[in-house]
Symmetry: C2
Subunit: 552 residues, 2 copies
Amino acid sequence: MKLVIVGGVAGGASAAARARRLDEHAEIVILERGPDLSFANCGLPYYLGGEIQQRSKLLVTPLERLRVRYKLDARPHSAVLRIDRAAKQVVVRDRATGREYTERYDKLILSPGAKPRVPEIPGGDLPGVFTLRTLEDTDRIFARLQDVQHAVLMGGGFISLEVAENLARRSIGVTLVERNPQVLMPFDAEMTTPIVQALRAKGIELILGSRVTAIEEENGGTLRARLADGSSRSCGLVLAGIGVEPETHLAADAGLELGVRGAIRVNRHMQSSDPEIYAAGDAVEIQDTITGQNGVVPLGGPANRQGRIAADHIFGRSLTYRGTQGTAIVRVFDLTAACTGASEKTLKRCNIAHRAAYLHPANHAGYYPSAQQMSLKVLFDPTDGRVLGAQAVGGDGVDKRIDVLAMAIQGKMTVYDLEEAELCYAPPYGSAKDPVNMAGFLCSGILRGDQPQVTVSELVEQQKSGRIQAVVDVRGADEFARGHLPGAVNIPVDELRGRLAEVPPGRIAVNCQVGMRGYLATRILMAAQRDVVNLSGGYQAWQLFAGAGLLG
Amino acid sequence: MKLVIVGGVAGGASAAARARRLDEHAEIVILERGPDLSFANCGLPYYLGGEIQQRSKLLVTPLERLRVRYKLDARPHSAVLRIDRAAKQVVVRDRATGREYTERYDKLILSPGAKPRVPEIPGGDLPGVFTLRTLEDTDRIFARLQDVQHAVLMGGGFISLEVAENLARRSIGVTLVERNPQVLMPFDAEMTTPIVQALRAKGIELILGSRVTAIEEENGGTLRARLADGSSRSCGLVLAGIGVEPETHLAADAGLELGVRGAIRVNRHMQSSDPEIYAAGDAVEIQDTITGQNGVVPLGGPANRQGRIAADHIFGRSLTYRGTQGTAIVRVFDLTAACTGASEKTLKRCNIAHRAAYLHPANHAGYYPSAQQMSLKVLFDPTDGRVLGAQAVGGDGVDKRIDVLAMAIQGKMTVYDLEEAELCYAPPYGSAKDPVNMAGFLCSGILRGDQPQVTVSELVEQQKSGRIQAVVDVRGADEFARGHLPGAVNIPVDELRGRLAEVPPGRIAVNCQVGMRGYLATRILMAAQRDVVNLSGGYQAWQLFAGAGLLG
């Protein structure tokens, strides 16, 4: 068996190591066009910021180890020019010597990754305008950073936010320009409010709903980025983090079947339309586990598993890739934002029935020091309660709850299962009722009719249509005074039973700070035969929506 | 509806709040024999150590709020003396006034909790000998602590270890005496080695396999604890953390059906043998979700959920308690130990077929600063791969992985599902192959026959029986020199292919540091037609067993 692998990072490196473990005698050739195989591309922003200090740390598995330990014929600087499917060979150019040669294969794995989009604007190709994909990119940026006082980042995705934080750590001023009205598109807009606030609090200039339209050279070696609003910023570098495209020209030229956005179409064994050719990583089309739709989701975890599964199938194992549920996480200064499954906007776009609920639990027992609040949004099926998605933003413990909910999604579990989840509890780690349990109680209560709720957007809609006629804020007078929903009447929950006569007539919504007192108030009013709903997530959810500019 | 609840902490308080939410008009009486309802008993050790500084923080829901917000007839100092099932009433003594009265009920919920075992040894009732259950206990201990230089803790369970740490934080010397040969009995012994080492490194004297046989008063107000080995320790106080017993005299006197250890037997709606009487919390018998056996598992999370489920059933909801899987966690200085599901010793005792695997992954990407290694043990069904249990000890991220595995157990997921788990990955939080994925790869590989393994105990057995004839250590010469298995031959994995002739004949085991290089070595040797197994978890697993005295 001779296995040739195109691309030596995440998917390719995983496939190679797995292949060697499964077949000691196979001939395994890895062709990587760059100088580095198996490098930590997710670590690049942290190297730029100095958190990772040694460049050598980014080389996860050194070339020598790949060659000796895994007995791989690992060839950097080796660009594959084309695939000759009939002859089962690839044409390779040694970029060091310029020599071209052919390499025969029994099986071929394509793991070419994705290439960053280059800004197609005037000046988009100037020196000082970068994308970040490889260690070489990083070296170039790193070299230039020494003289940079200000940087303009195009795009507000995961990597851009990581770079923004890391540049700020180096005391470099940052202007971040995102053409959408929100950063972190996999999240629903309101859930990004704390991130936007944190970025701005750290002095990062964040411009949403705008674009860099041109980049010009200035005297003195700096650049000037011109924005759609007519303003401009002087900067030492521009980094374009405006998305990636599957690197699939090889597959396309070879006539392999392509899917969404030109990504390589594969079956569940990661096999392309040519059964001798497999593909893995950011260049392949995946199926979304929630929506069932085909898409491109460039993530490190899936890339590694796909490479492994391709090797498994080649060497006689029948594992299948089950699809991607889009679990992702980003740290932005002291905050963590993480998500798994589908967002509400995706569910809407796909016409998938869903309910949404918001809560703001603490990461651990409130009586134990340093409890930190998170905002958690859970999306679930209104019929059977299956968990469809979750997003959380906050401090410690966000990653844990999203991982737990990711398992719930993978296991096709329901919000009723979340009620009964038995999770670690001691005061430094959680609560007797963990945030995941609380989410279960809330969502199950909605489905059982015990907790009639509206989301902020449903409230706004129902107020407009006249279906909700008043809002009663059941927080204390002091909290109410610090800010409240327009037109809300204040009746603290502890006084509500004695002041039922003051509750406005008609269908009403109640709100408190996070939803708990509102829940009790809803129950009190339901017992008084009132048509009432609780505002999911309370005033804090309102503030998330307001902060994202969603309230008009 | 008149609902009477006996016991106002975890299960009782949860039941009361839930009952009020479900029925605004029900009459709800909570009778608590102590002065405090709804207090944070899990926080008591941290209050002793000063981490929680304000006593008031331990009162989770103040009495006034229970009365006003939840409209509960909440009565502290109210001891229930007996239940008159025929008349559907309880006899109550007001401990403040001594007055006795009867209180009628439609439904009764018993949530009396568990009482700490009192040491039945000479001097076990001296002043200065304490158990820790209530805020009052805490106040008494706290008052005495001011004069204490040294304390003797009886028992090495979760609470004792928390107290040990917290006393050490106050610069109080601690001798901890545990009659079993290990601390933290829910864990398998070898997994407690890092905890034992951490306690000793912090200056705590830990005496395993011994007992305090008597306590005597000394001159000057101190105590002398005499141990089974004839030695003794002078100390300012003795704290007995030697387990708890379900507090079920009320239920027993009333003729309710009792189960294991006298705990109140309930059905899945938390209903006792008298359908008008429910029970919740540490006093009830539960079914273990893994073994199916009945038992008593006093944990805060289950108590809260049980109270809620009892209230649900009383008010017409049909939720069921699904059993307890024993998820638990403890912090011991910088370490965290957590477990879920069954331990290996429990599976053995119950004759449940299982396999065990060990690994020592880092909590996040190794190239990102401050990665911390954890030891992880996973137990799984050898036929279908279902996850049966997991234990982890280490630094950051232990709680997350055990919570994820707890969800896998709850969802009846398999080690094959762990391979495909899609968890949060960015360098500060995890790895592209998360520890949970790694566990899945390892356990699945064992089941598929790709990774023949033995545990340390299986290795020792097979060496004794002659089935394994040699051990090849595939680590580097420097690692080997720092310590290795008795009789092991050193052939570094990177040299193995060229030195196959040096590998001893017969069936052999290979080991490396954590199991990864050993896995590759196993594959190389299997390809050379050798009968070979990898030592699961490598030399670090060996050290866990050695540290626990399990190697003879």
